[in-house]
Symmetry: C2
Subunit: 218 residues, 2 copies
Amino acid sequence: MMMAQESIRVLVVEDHHVVRQGLVALLNVVDGIEVVGEAADGVEAITQFRKHQPHVTLIDLRMPRLSGVDVIQRIRMETPQARFIVLTTYDGDEDIYRALQAGARAYLLKGMTTDELIATIRAVHAGKSHIPPAVAQRLAERMGTEELTPREFDVLEQIVRGKSNKEIATELEISEATVKTHINSLLGKLGVTDRTQATTAAIQRGIVPLESLRKPKP
Amino acid sequence: MMMAQESIRVLVVEDHHVVRQGLVALLNVVDGIEVVGEAADGVEAITQFRKHQPHVTLIDLRMPRLSGVDVIQRIRMETPQARFIVLTTYDGDEDIYRALQAGARAYLLKGMTTDELIATIRAVHAGKSHIPPAVAQRLAERMGTEELTPREFDVLEQIVRGKSNKEIATELEISEATVKTHINSLLGKLGVTDRTQATTAAIQRGIVPLESLRKPKP
DNA sequence: AAGCTTCTCCACCGAACGATGGAGGCCAGG
DNA sequence: CCTGGCCTCCATCGTTCGGTGGAGAAGCTT
């Protein structure tokens, strides 16, 4: 079988077996694209990247062991020209922001069509960026948003866990007055007026991931 | 190519292109399983079911036009012996409960392995049910839980949207006193002590889906 | 050294919230 | 018919929250 010039070498990083196999199956029948490796978690991703030096890496953000954002950061330290396309199920994800900052070139929802996927891979390989208008808008909004300080983040996390100010004070070993100060500040930064709105905002934007709420935190 | 006896006829209903194609690709190479149809939303699912009368239907719960639960209910009205395997990304989903009540026989996370998938299809086709221990436990917990009344649900939804009691009263055209009554009641049923905890509980259990929070509601 | 941010804490206030114990009307199921 | 669930409303009470305007200490940058 003839190869058209040089194929685009692609690495697929995705922990959901079915999705990963679907991607590989789809891409391998496309002319000019070659899947050179697969990984099911972050650590594996780095190993595979070093081994295969792909042109483009399709990568899920939520993964075991090492998150997508971490993977992008680490790989770009040693290989700055590496190109990443971020895959996500949900589009309200705070991590997208970090991923794009970390150097991802494009962003795709898993509900994309095959054509979109292929077009994006080609575009990114050609050096372009590709961010859907909806995401671009969210990004712009996020840019204008002040970032929470570490302590404010701690307090927000406790709020989402349903703790009262007094409980938060105990948990963080600070006075209730200080808790209120942080809350006042973070409410402003999130653009909301009370702790309930802060909670939905935090979850919607992925600032506090839902999964983190199960473990009581040791 | 020889077929082993009769193949299990499978319908795949899933709106994410990549996932759907992945499933189809995986299943079609398995001996004894034949994908007879695909659907990308609920309405299509019903059409395809009528046309192909599959033995087993793999179905995602979150879909455009008609939800997975609705599809299961409608199809079982006309074809009670129809067998369903529910697919979901997230395992804290309230809909699983309804889906199993509606007659689904099994439940799989999208992170499953190929072997699990195939084994489950065979088991369900053979008339067995297949529910992972973790889900069974959650189900049991849910069973003991009192259900919210329609009105309590309305109030909860407004709470999650960040509305104050006064705003909820206006929105639902009832007095603030009544809002408080409902809140008191729903807090008890959810097993929480304040509106913030109610919010995370509602989102975690999927009682109020995150997607529903964007649209202001007409 | 001066300036910045962050974290810590204080006092005070009004508004919102949650808990409690009632009460009347409506409608479906026994 | 009448019991039970649901929805509606009332008053009261103590607690929690959020807003405001401070202030000192530590750390980083310039």
